[in-house]
């Protein structure tokens, strides 16, 4: 029995992969396993190849790796694409109806991949049919198991007198059934998962369970439970299963968000949709508040109206990704100039421009730091995993209001679309900090020069106030007197110095491992999980990980001190250039000489980090560029 299982389910976009993934995640979670899963898809509604990659573990896990132990292929393209992703001794389940399919006959497959595969098949001396490929990998030691998917669907259609096209919609149940059987998971967990996903739709639940039951029986008859998992040690009786988008929405809600304005964009939009489903916050029979979520006409309007709302005292935010933030820059600067607390949840994706709209990246750090003309303070924070994202979503509001600045909360597609098991957050640690808020009166001055952070009254309170993006006097009127300009410019900038003093270093940077490790890896955002998983597998080496969580105000002295203590420092990032290294050099003068980067838009995998580290250590390579993943 194994502690740990890596699996993949692949098929065309729109064929129910998401359903399989969610049902399975919940089912395993239900039994107490840790699950971490990622979804990879193309910017397309139907037909392009997509897949779910999942790790199920009896112990904690926060990353993915290759090779996988099990692939369930819904179609021929999945096998063609992923045949070399399976471990020796691992399992491939496929549909026997597609074995005659030729590589050249997969219209949805991109030309570059097709060409690479053709060339490889020639090398491997196999013809272009799926059957030959399957034979080949069988010879390589993979257990290949063909099932007749169509047969199951036909049976279902017959039994419940459904048309075959309706029955085809149950394809996802086949994948669920296979995984259930192979891992020896009890069907009741799957039933709970299905019930949850299809809440209230009793007939459909029944069809699904029926089909799953059949598959489980047949698979067990053929192979038994070859990937049976060890029973997990259960730490928490209640856990969350949520995507990054969802956990951020939850954090925002707990943090007091009351108005979210957004314009749809991948991978941010799902957060807003989830928020909208929670418009009315009721608990214990009591109304706790309402959340207004508004889809605006564009991102220019999204940030403008989030700012407008913030002026009245509501906690407001907008969510977007690179192209959207590029349009928000002018509004963001206005918030900086007028000291308005507004939060931008910034989901990075593959750039530049429209780029790889459904793939991940961490290549917007420098942009987030310096976006906007002129100089103004901002807080920039980034989350490394689901739980951090939850707390960061709350802190983003707290920082925004305490320091009266706009805040960028940097996350990315990897986090947004990965579904994980997460402990219930620790509420004893959560506080709402609104800064210096007053009612105001007739003499109120919004930008009172007697304070660095002037007391803030809301529009609609007892005071009158003016806001302008022009330079302004204490009352908020337009001013361009040079001396007044200096005063208010300095006042604005000093808020960041206060934040630098007040926000503890431990909140801004976290060291995993000891201070004097031989090797120090420096990263931020969603590389955290994979780096920690990787180094926990390299106990033979003295490696620490420095995880940066706040970039503005930057924890300069602390970082500089740490870096100079290690013999070797390695930056890791999802970008072409390791922007974190540039930023560190900007603030500390320290040049990080080694880097591990990836810019294919696919996640960094544990095995890649391990290999890259070994390469740097043994071969003295300076920069390792990762490329695994389809």
């Amino acid at each position: 029995m194994r502690e740990n299982l890596l699996l993949m389910i692949g098929g065309p976009q729109g064929s129910g992969l998401e359903t399989s993934a969610i049902v399975l995640t919940r089912a395993f979670a239900n039994k107490g396993y840790n699950v971490f899963s990622d979804r990879e898809y193309y910017s397309n509604i139907k037909g392009k190849h997509s897949y779910t990659h999942m790790r199920i573990s009896a112990r904690e896990c926060k990353s993915l790796s290759y090779p996988v132990d099990l692939i369930v292929a819904m179609d021929a393209e999945t096998v063609f694409t992923h045949f070399d992703d399976i471990a020796k001794g691992g399992y491939l389940f496929y549909d026997i109806n597609v074995v005659n399919t030729k590589l050249t006959r997969i219209p949805s497959m991109g030309a570059y991949l097709k060409k690479r595969l053709s060339e490889r098949f020639i090398e491997m001396k196999i013809d272009e049919t799926l059957g030959s490929l399957i034979n080949h990998i069988k010879e390589q030691g993979v257990n290949t198991i063909g099932l007749d998917y169509l047969k199951y669907l036909k049976e279902l259609s017959k039994k419940y007198t459904l048309s075959l096209s309706v029955a085809s919609k149950y394809l996802s149940a086949i994948a669920i059934g296979i995984v259930t059987a192979a891992t020896g998971l009890e069907e009741k967990y799957v039933f709970n998962g299905i019930k949850h996903r299809l809440i209230g739709r009793e007939k459909i639940i029944k069809h699904n369970m029926d089909l799953i039951g059949n598959i489980v029986k047949e698979v067990k008859d053929i192979v038994g439970e070859p990937l049976k998992l060890k029973v997990p040690e259960v730490k928490n009786k209640e856990i969350l299963v949520a995507s990054g988008n969802e956990i951020i929405a939850m954090g925002k809600i707990v943090g007091g968000l009351r108005l979210q304005t957004y314009y749809p964009i991948t991978p941010a939009a799902d957060e807003s949709l989830y928020l909208e489903s929670k418009a009315i916050l009721k608990a214990n029979g009591k109304l706790l508040g309402n959340i207004v979520v508004v889809q605006t006409e564009d991102e220019l309007a999204a940030i403008a109206s989030a700012i407008g709302g913030a002026l009245t005292g509501a906690r407001t935010a907008t969510s977007t990704s690179g192209p959207g933030f590029s349009l928000m820059v002018e509004g963001f600067g206005w918030a900086g100039m007028t000291e308005t607390p507004v939060v931008v949840t910034y989901y990075q994706r593959g750039g530049p421009s429209t780029g790889l709209p459904t793939r991940g990246a961490q290549s917007d750090l420098l942009f987030a730091m310096f976006a906007g003309h002129g100089v103004f303070p901002r807080i920039v924070l980034a989350s490394g995993d689901h739980l951090e994202a939850f707390y960061d979503a709350i802190d983003a509001f707290n920082f925004a209001e305490k320091y009266q600045t706009p805040v960028i909360h940097l996350v990315d597609k990897f986090l947004a679309n990965s579904v994980a098991t997460i402990p219930i957050p620790d509420f004893s640690k959560i506080r709402i900090e609104r800064g210096n808020i007053v009612d105001g009166d007739e003499d109120y001055k919004r930008f009172d020069f007697n304070h660095i952070i002037s007391p803030r009254a809301f529009i609609g309170s007892k005071a009158i106030m003016w806001y302008t993006g022009d330079e302004h006097g204490e009352k908020g009127n337009i001013v361009d007197d040079p001396i007044a300009r200096m005063k208010i410019h300095e006042k604005r900038m000093k808020k960041l110095e206060i934040a630098d003093k007040e926000i503890p270093i431990s909140r801004r940077a976290e060291l995993y491992g000891n201070e004097e490790a031989d090797i120090l890896i420096v990263g931020w955002g969603s590389v955290k999980g994979v780096v920690l998983d990787a180094i926990s597998n390299m106990k033979d080496r003295d490696i620490s990980y420095l995880h940066l969580r706040i970039f503005s105000p930057f924890p300069k002295d602390y970082v500089k001190k740490l870096l100079t203590k290690s013999e070797m420092v390695i930056a890791i990032e999802h970008s072409y250039e390791a922007q974190i290294a540039k930023l560190i050099e900007l603030f500390t003068g320290y040049e990080i000489k080694h880097s591990i980067v990836k810019y294919t838009g696919r996640p960094i995998y544990e095995h890649e980090v391990v290999n890259a580290l070994r390469k740097i250590l043994s071969e003295k390579v300076k920069k390792v560029v990762l490329s695994y993943g389809k």
Binding site: L259, A283, S305, I430
Partner: protein
């Protein structure tokens, strides 16, 4: 009750050119506030960038001088977060109908209860007289090197076809008419546009005081003019829209001012929101408590688990 107009005055020197139509607008706006006896702390003047945009600091109420073209979305955020506020947008023609056209149309589609006062001077005043979107093709005002190369947009027809439910025109130097129009617009529930013909004495030597005063007439002088939709009947609405759009085409010889179209039957965006969120008006974004006195969020662990129950898995 009418409050003292002087309470709406501020002590800043107004830096518009002497004789600028904007003086009429700011005066009419203050008078309207006074006559409606509004509470300055509940009024928000949201403005764009341009000569017109500076108006916010010449009125003793809340003022938000936003970004070029974005006054409407700023105003929307303010209004959505605190619907009890009276929110007005003052913007130039370049601002609202050029760079801000997308938002101008979107406001109509929402029918949010906001009054938009368009400072229609035909030029980009503050950047020294380029052609604004309301200037007709072939017209050559002072600062233009060549006649204007683009056709004008008609604010009245664009507003009506975008869904504004109160659409009127007034004239900057007719303070009484403008004041009354602003009052009506504020009292109307829904998106309101007032197209204010505003002479720019420095750059617009075509649409001058004299030009207007030779042509303007009040729609109300026609006893049969009835711009208001009286029943929610589709046919009536279509007819009223049609007559308004026809009137909107009058220009060369005589130029009408007054209310072109008003439809009180379209629900405002706020009312539409209330359908989904019944307590929206009692508990709008700006008013909700989000934490207890000890700083703990109103959502505690127990409430959290209840609210997000579909994401909670109980380990069996």
């Amino acid at each position: 009750m009418v409050s003292n107009p002087s309470k709406w005055k501020t002590d800043l020197w107004i830096d518009w050119c002497p004789g600028c139509g904007n003086f009429g607008i700011v005066n009419a706006e203050k008078l309207a506030f006074a006559e409606l006896d509004l509470d300055p702390t509940k009024v928000v003047v949201v403005s764009g960038i341009g000569c017109s945009g500076k108006i916010m600091q010449y009125i003793n109420a809340n003022g938000v001088h936003t970004l070029h073209g974005r006054a409407i979305p700023f105003a929307m955020g303010i209004k959505l977060a605190n619907p009890e506020l009276i929110v007005l947008v003052n913007g130039g023609d370049g601002d609202l109908l050029g760079i801000g056209m997308g938002h101008f149309v979107a406001l109509g589609r929402r029918n949010l209860d906001i009054v938009v006062i368009l400072h229609n001077n035909g030029v980009y005043g503050l950047t020294k007289g380029q052609a604004a979107p309301t200037l007709g093709r072939g017209i050559k005002t002072k600062a233009l090197a060549k006649p204007n190369i683009q056709d004008a947009v008609n604010p009245i027809t664009v507003a009506i076809s975008s869904g504004y439910t109160f659409v009127a025109r007034s004239y900057a130097y007719n303070i009484k008419h403008l004041k009354e129009t602003i009052k009506k617009a504020i009292q109307h529930k829904g998106a309101a546009l007032i197209d204010v013909l505003q002479p720019c004495v420095t750059y617009n030597n075509i649409y001058t005081r004299q030009y207007y005063e030779n042509r303007l007439y009040d729609l109300n002088t026609d006893p049969n003019w009835d711009p208001i939709v009286n029943t929610a009947n589709v046919k009536e609405v279509e007819m009223k829209i049609d007559q308004a759009c026809k009137k909107a085409l009058e220009w060369e010889e005589k130029i009408p001012i007054g209310v072109f179209y008003q439809n009180p039957y379209v629900p405002t965006f706020e009312e539409r929101l209330k359908k989904e969120i019944p307590s929206y008006f009692d508990s709008p974004p700006a008013k909700d408590a989000i934490s207890a006195d000890d700083g703990k969020p109103v959502i505690n662990r127990k409430f959290f688990i209840e609210i997000f129950k579909e994401k909670v898995v109980n380990v069996l």
